[in-house]
Symmetry: C2
Subunit: 195 residues, 2 copies
């Protein structure tokens, strides 16, 4: 359904508190990724879903048909937004947008989300961050291992664009699929991932 501003509900826009910035293609990152995951599912290439937004339910109207929730709160997610299976491997990632032209502010990711990503790496999963620099119309896939490296070496509160151009992988937009991030996954993890 639509909101007064005509924009469909996107949890991220609620959680960040600021409106989602749109790329010049009029679609936000989450919509692009959801379209892509649907494509992967239809092509039987991978089974990857976005997790529902974590919500704390406080009041439910049992009398009405279909049980209406009358009071609930957005909860802070303890994991990443997307996970699933690709070539038998566990795949897990978070997607974020920034309007900054120079860097990605780390406050966009919750600390326990980063902890979760590090755990996934340690357990042999494929884990990464998809970051869209909306104003620059650039999208990158940053492997969690590179994110870890940055967090270990740097004390900065944001990852400069230069770090992305050097250690992340650009994802070019297409139509089918919209955002073929698994092509990058094959490139990075291909070796131990082709089973």
């Amino acid at each position: 359904m639509k909101y007064p501003n005509g924009k469909s509900f996107t949890p991220n826009s609620f959680q960040s508190g600021k409106p989602v910035s749109y790329g010049n293609r009029g679609m936000d990152l989450e919509q692009k990724i959801n379209l892509t995951n649907t494509y992967y599912l239809e092509q039987d290439k991978a089974v990857i879903y976005k997790k529902p937004t974590p919500i704390k339910i406080s009041e439910v109207d049992y009398k009405s048909k279909g049980k209406i929730i009358t009071k609930a709160f957005f909860e802070c997610p303890s994991t990443t937004d997307y996970n699933g299976i690709y070539k038998g491997k566990y795949i897990d990632f978070e997607a974020k947008e920034t309007t900054s032209k120079t860097s990605f502010p780390l406050h966009n990711i919750h600390e326990h989300q980063i902890e979760h990503m590090m755990k996934i790496c340690a357990h042999g999963g494929i884990c990464f961050l998809i970051v869209q620099f909306t104003t620059l119309d650039k999208i990158f896939l940053l492997p969690a291992e590179q994110l870890k490296k940055f967090l270990t070496l740097e004390k900065r509160s944001s990852i400069p664009l230069s770090f992305f151009t050097e250690f992340a992988h650009p994802i070019l937009e297409g139509y089918h699929p919209r955002l073929d991030y698994l092509k990058i996954v094959d490139k990075i993890y291909g070796g131990d991932n082709d089973e």
Copy 2:
């Protein structure tokens, strides 16, 4: 938080429409599995979470602090409740309770959840069903492959207990962990799962 009946919120109780039946240990299956997953996480044995309940948000009060959801509806889940990573492999399962003493009614699982489980198998993931016969105080792990076999061969709308005793694996309750289902996973998938 508690409800008038003193029971904490459990999505399943809402979705099934009937109250959750408790085992003689005063804890429902979901609580047992969540405790177990927390234990696995603390022991760094696996990273497995229950997905948030899918909810369709209809109205949000932006004025109030923390953005209160004032109208929302429970949605039908398109995947299983639990997934994560174990020994580098994708693991995915659904957990259900029944008060029946003789069989597990299949209407407890949505058709697209079953389709999802079949896809996970096809993609090389570890996928199963955990079923608690609450009245009998028995808990079984039924591999998705066995569920598939039943659905292919049988036209019945419920899986008889005898099928569980023959093709599923009993999970004994303990304390730490409460429900050591990964022990069964090792037994069943151990061969191609030890990496």
